[in-house]
Symmetry: C2
């Protein structure tokens, strides 16, 4: 296990996850991500199951330049090798991806690992194996991820947040209108796909998503 980065929970208030299809109205995803970063999104996750590694790396490098400019974190979904070669801050792993423990052994100190789970026991195990934060959901039913399973609701989210000492990021069906109730849970932040990628005005969506979290009294940073 690595020590948590200072301010990690604060920097995970909002993770903007890319989606090629939803962003198709823009010339590239860079336009959407730029607008999101300019509006204050503190983290981006590159997710593209269609792209080959060479293409994924090219996009990741563009996103690395953008996120650096705005002081935002960059994660790559699934592919630790792409994350490492793009000099991303970390990788986000799901249950069909490489196990957290296996990746932790192969990456440099300080490289962040996120892991998706809606189960408190799995959450604890992932943290013991070296996960730095958890994505937790699907909180609400959603159409943007076909295999997302059944929604866990705010109670399910709180159960996972209570189980682990690392930041938990809510995911699944989150809209600006629902952000206030997420902010009332133990989650450190939100991760969204369609709420930003599919928005008419991605910057306005980011502003609306962040507002309820900014009004909170301050997120407790994890001590491990």
């Amino acid at each position: 296990m690595t020590a948590p980065s200072p301010g990690l929970a604060e920097r995970l208030r909002l993770i903007v996850i890319t989606d090629r299809a939803l962003a198709a109205r823009w010339p590239t995803i860079l336009e959407v991500v730029s607008a999101a970063l300019a509006a204050g999104a503190p983290a981006v996750q590159l997710r593209d199951k269609q792209a080959g590694a060479a293409e994924l790396l090219a996009i990741a490098r563009d996103l690395r330049r953008l996120t650096r400019r705005f002081g935002a974190l960059l994660f790559v979904n699934d592919r630790a090798d792409v994350a490492l070669t793009a000099d991303a801050d970390g990788v986000h792993l799901g249950t069909d991806d490489l196990p957290v423990a296996a990746v932790r052994r192969c990456v440099p100190e300080g490289f962040l690992i996120g892991y998706s789970t809606d189960d408190p026991a799995r959450a604890r195990r992932a943290v013991a194996e070296g996960a730095d934060y958890l994505g937790c959901g699907t909180v609400y039913p959603t159409g943007s991820k076909v295999d997302a399973g059944s929604a866990i609701g705010l109670e399910g989210l709180d159960r996972v947040a209570a189980a682990v000492p690392v930041p938990v990021v809510a995911i699944g069906g989150i809209t600006p209108g629902r952000a206030p109730e997420i902010a009332s849970t133990g989650a450190a932040g939100l991760a969204v796909v369609s709420a930003v990628m599919g928005a008419e005005d991605p910057g306005a969506a980011v502003t609306a998503l962040l507002a309820p979290l900014a009004r909170r009294s301050g997120i407790r940073e994890p001590v491990r």
Copy 2:
């Protein structure tokens, strides 16, 4: 650039590349690979574009145990992260995969990188960037790789072999009947998919593929 492993060219006489569909007549690919290793195959490459990373790692770990037992090399196609976490000997990269230079910077000393090209200039560049061996083809027209492009023939193979100081492994449409003419070129060895994965008797296929190479006067090891 890493120093070449002692005997690398000798260990690349034959690379058996896995194929889930072609091996479907067997319970798993492990049965085919076991038979190939028992017959003397010195190297295996795990190639499975359908499997998610977790499944790919599980197969890679099984293949790692098998290849260790027989003293054979194990490569993983495309995914350097799976190769690293499975403790494979290396990764094999194509033009749509991560660039050789990017992977070389992220892997430990001694981790092998193979790169596919049929072009002498690209071959030289890949070696300069840290490739330890090259896959070169398609030598003959083949149905097992849809995007393999047009066949380069023995002359094309020899041009690449002459251009670089590392082992060049011929790939594409190679059968036991064609192995003797590959052995007459500057290639260090052969890589096959269907000739072993689709064989009635994979062990006999390996024996037949290796025979012409064993009769050679000795493969020059690269000096870099």
